[in-house]
Amino acid sequence: MSNQAYLELQNIHQMFGTHQALQDVSLNIQEGEFVCFLGPSGCGKTSLLRIIAGLDMPTSGEIFQAGNNITQTPIKHRDFGIVFQSYALFPNLNVADNIAYGLASQQFSRQEKHARVRELLATVGLSGSEGKYPAQLSGGQQQRVALARALATSPGLLLLDEPLSALDARVRSHLRQEIKQLQEKLGVTTIMVTHDQEEALTMADKIVVMNHGVIEQIGSPQNVYTHPSTPFVAEFVGEMNFFKAQHSGAGMMQSGALILQCNPGTETTFGDDVQLAIRPEDIRFNCRADAENTLEANVLHLEFLGSRVRSLLQIDSHETPIIADISMNEMSGLNLAQGQSIRCQLPADRLHIFGGQA
């Protein structure tokens, strides 16, 4: 494999008793990249991170760093900093001692340590908190101290296990930006675990979507959102309407009484059962009568979500209604009301096709 990869995982398997936590996971990470492991709870994200850190040994598989096999390397010879899900700050040490904890073993002078701590605190925006104890800090501040501690030894790799999940929504979105900026500034290769798709979408250079111990897709945020490679990814990253359909001709899919035109691309042949999918925001209402894939729908329910309105649309030949999001701006032109019938369009270039049933 390529030697440029900073970190390379090859066919990692992890068993806990009879439970397979990770199954054949392979992955390349480039230097300086911000990678997110995204997936539902229990999908194996933490397990994978712990293997990379060397805290756990994989049942099988190899890890290479800059071409060297480090699968068996003890923790102390690896070069990474880690921030645990709930920070794990030493409650009995003050902020400065927490941050300097890793420096002791590296023969720093007292003054050097001091300077480094001050520098790190400035970096994470907590100057002057040296003497405080973790219990005296808010969740967000603790999180930053944990980050500073992990960065103290200038590791080549930064591992973050759901660093934001314990914080409340506002602090979270604020820290998101800060972490991202810090990472960009330091250029440190970073792996972050999260189960929050928005977090992954906004922060990552590369998202690794996982499910049941398997990698479902690897790609840029945009790529994962707009071209999900499996129904799971489609639904986990953003919202998605699904229909069952059958390949009924070149670029044509039949779903119930509907015949939908689709962009070619997925390889399906006549008669194949497929799943069509479209995101709620991709459904159009202001469409010309001659546009492709238009259909009549009945507005079952309208839900006000602030910046947009969520409508529940009943299509004649389909049992489950579909969801369409309409921005308030568009809405003001449409004057939609519950019970009304409306013409809408499922643009061909926004239809996703997945082979097989869900």
Partner: protein, 578 residues
């Protein structure tokens, strides 16, 4: 929905007084009022059984025999008597040394149980807490047989006499060890794997990890153990009485002043002096507990010990050694109680179990003890749990609850000996309308419950706090009387804690000496006191025999507790299963 109209209508004009009135009375239902009056009774009961006796004792210490106020004359007399105030030095010496030994040993053994991979942890644990089931006199008696002039291994002392500080320290360490171990185990159970991983990731050595992670986490536990052991030792008089020889300590002084010289006022004076370190200890401990709770985080991940071969071996050795010592001391007592006439006739017989021919009250004392312990367990558990429940869950009555809590915590700081003496002064006063209970089983039960009140109260409160605070609000909104929720929900959910309290009370009532030694009378002599009296009269083997009987009874009680907890509760507590 139409029920809303049936809501009682009240005049729509409210002035402040009226509002205050209805705040106080109008809105409380009959239900709440009756529970409230039970709470009031509880506060009164504690006031009478704890606060007043102690007040009486304190006032005795500044009175002369005739009951006149003489300020601190008793105290200056105390300090003017070298033999008396030497006891302070002796007491401090014994207590400090025992504290050091027990604290370090209990830390090491607790570490062995919770942080290493040695085998048979459950077995070790069971053995190490055995001493809690025996009266504190048992190790002292056992030591006589081990190291006395006819002791089987007296050579180990290399000519030193067991009668004196050595004996007191060994005996004290033996009986306080399980108390220390249990606190230490909880302190060390508080592992957080994340901290160990962080330390490892940051490159800390095992030693550094021990000092920066393990020790700080257990710090408050260790300090707490030190204080608890210190108080237990300095207030215990059973061990020094039996094996102290001429080495006087404060606790035996009280006994001598009262029993030997009928000098109650000086007894009260020494009691007050004994009360000081205990109260100091108690306050410090409270303060530490509060500090500790601020440090605990909820997200800790339990840590599992890695394999460390030589460390595990060292700890296995230590556990074997400590278990061996404990078992030897217990088995020595058992053996001695079966020997016909030590050391001249070593054939085994049950002669020493013929208590009716000895001082101390005979078998009747044993049955009295069982009766007393049973009453204490049943009445005590009922009273304590229900009162704790009211304090925790009844709305309102803030001032009352505050006082209740204060009174409930107070007994922890009062040594049993002091409490017992206080009871004489208070309950035997002819103008006390309650003096009818003096000399009856009732006063023993009341005194024992009071003596051990605090721990039970805290156990109950902790259990109750873990229950959702909204249960009572839910019941109110569903118009179900609160007492019904107590029966149907709170009590069943807290059953394990209730059993713990009952078993704790039973065992302590069986083994306690200090509080009841002044209070028993002819038809209420107790087994634990009988041990003391038989030893006092020189009937050491029968004393050992009675101590063994007490220990066996406590073991049986624990077994019943275990069966109830494991067999019975398992069936009724299916709801705990996921």
């Amino acid at each position: 929905m139409n029920q809303s109209n049936t809501a009682t209508t009240e005049p729509s004009q409210h002035n402040t007084a009226q509002r205050l009135f209805s705040n106080l009375f109008g809105r409380r239902s009959l239900d709440e009022w009756s529970l409230g009056s039970v709470l009031i009774i509880g506060v009164l009961a504690l006031f009478i059984c704890v606060v007043l006796p102690i007040y009486t004792l304190l006032s005795k210490s500044v009175e002369n025999r005739a009951g006149d106020f003489i300020a601190l004359t008793n105290f200056s007399q105390f300090f003017a008597t070298p033999s008396l105030y030497n006891s302070i030095n002796n007491s401090l010496f014994i207590a400090l040394l025992s504290t050091t030994i027990v604290t370090s040993l209990s830390f090491l053994t607790a570490y062995g149980i919770s942080r290493t991979r040695i085998p048979f942890k459950g077995l070790f644990r069971t053995i190490l807490v055995l001493p809690i089931l025996a009266p504190s006199l048992l190790p002292a008696i056992s030591l006589v047989y081990l190291f006395g002039n006819q002791g089987i291994i007296k050579e180990l002392l290399m000519g030193e006499s067991i009668y004196g500080p050595i004996g007191i320290i060994i005996g004290s360490c033996f009986w306080t060890f399980p108390h220390a171990l249990m606190i230490m185990l909880t302190a060390l159970a508080n592992t957080d794997a994340r901290l160990y991983e962080s330390a490892e990731v940051l490159g800390a050595s095992p030693i550094r990890t021990f000092f920066t992670v393990t020790l700080p986490a257990a710090k408050y536990g260790i300090i707490s153990v030190a204080f608890v052991v210190f108080t237990l030792v300095i207030t215990d008089f059973g061990v020094p009485k039996v094996i102290g020889g001429q080495f006087n300590v404060l606790a035996t002084d009280i006994y001598k002043q009262v029993i030997g010289q009928q000098n109650f006022e000086m007894g009260a004076t020494v009691s007050v002096i004994l009360l000081l370190p205990a109260i100091l200890t108690f306050l410090t401990d409270r303060w530490l507990q509060r500090k500790q709770s601020a440090l605990l985080t909820s997200k800790a991940v339990p840590w599992t010990a890695p394999k460390r071969q030589w460390l595990d071996r060292v700890f296995l050795g230590l556990m074997l050694l400590v278990s061996f010592i404990i078992l030897s001391i217990i088995l020595m007592a058992v053996y001695a109680s079966l020997v016909t006439f030590w050391p001249y006739n070593l054939s085994l017989s049950l002669k020493n179990y013929n208590f009716d021919l000895m001082d101390g009250g005979g078998w009747a004392a044993y049955w009295n003890s069982i009766q007393m312990a049973t009453f204490t367990a049943i009445i005590g558990t009922g009273f304590i749990f229900f009162q704790s429940y009211l304090v925790a869950k009844l709305p309102g009555f803030k001032v009352l609850k505050w006082f209740f809590h204060l009174f409930a915590i107070l007994p922890l700081a009062v040594p049993g000996l002091v409490l017992g003496l206080a009871y004489i002064f208070f309950f035997n006063s002819p103008n006390n309308p309650l003096n009818g209970i003096y000399g009856t089983m009732t006063i023993l039960v009341v005194c024992t419950i009071s003596h051990f009140y605090t721990v039970c109260h805290l156990t109950a409160t902790t259990a109750l706090k873990q229950i959702d605070g909204e249960f009572e609000s839910v019941s109110a909104s569903l118009k179900v009387p609160q007492i019904k929720t107590f029966w149907r929900v709170t009590l069943p959910v807290c059953m394990p804690a209730v059993l713990d309290i009952a078993s704790y009370l039973f065992v302590n009532a069986m083994t306690t000496v200090s509080a009841v030694v002044f209070l028993y009378s002819y038809n209420t002599s107790l087994a634990s006191v009988a041990v003391l009296n038989m030893d006092d009269a020189g009937d050491i083997a029968p004393a050992a025999a009675m101590a063994v009987m007490i220990m066996l009874t406590c073991m049986l009680a624990r077994l019943v507790h275990w069966l109830l907890g494991n067999v019975l509760l398992k069936n009724t507590q299916t709801w705990r299963k996921k």
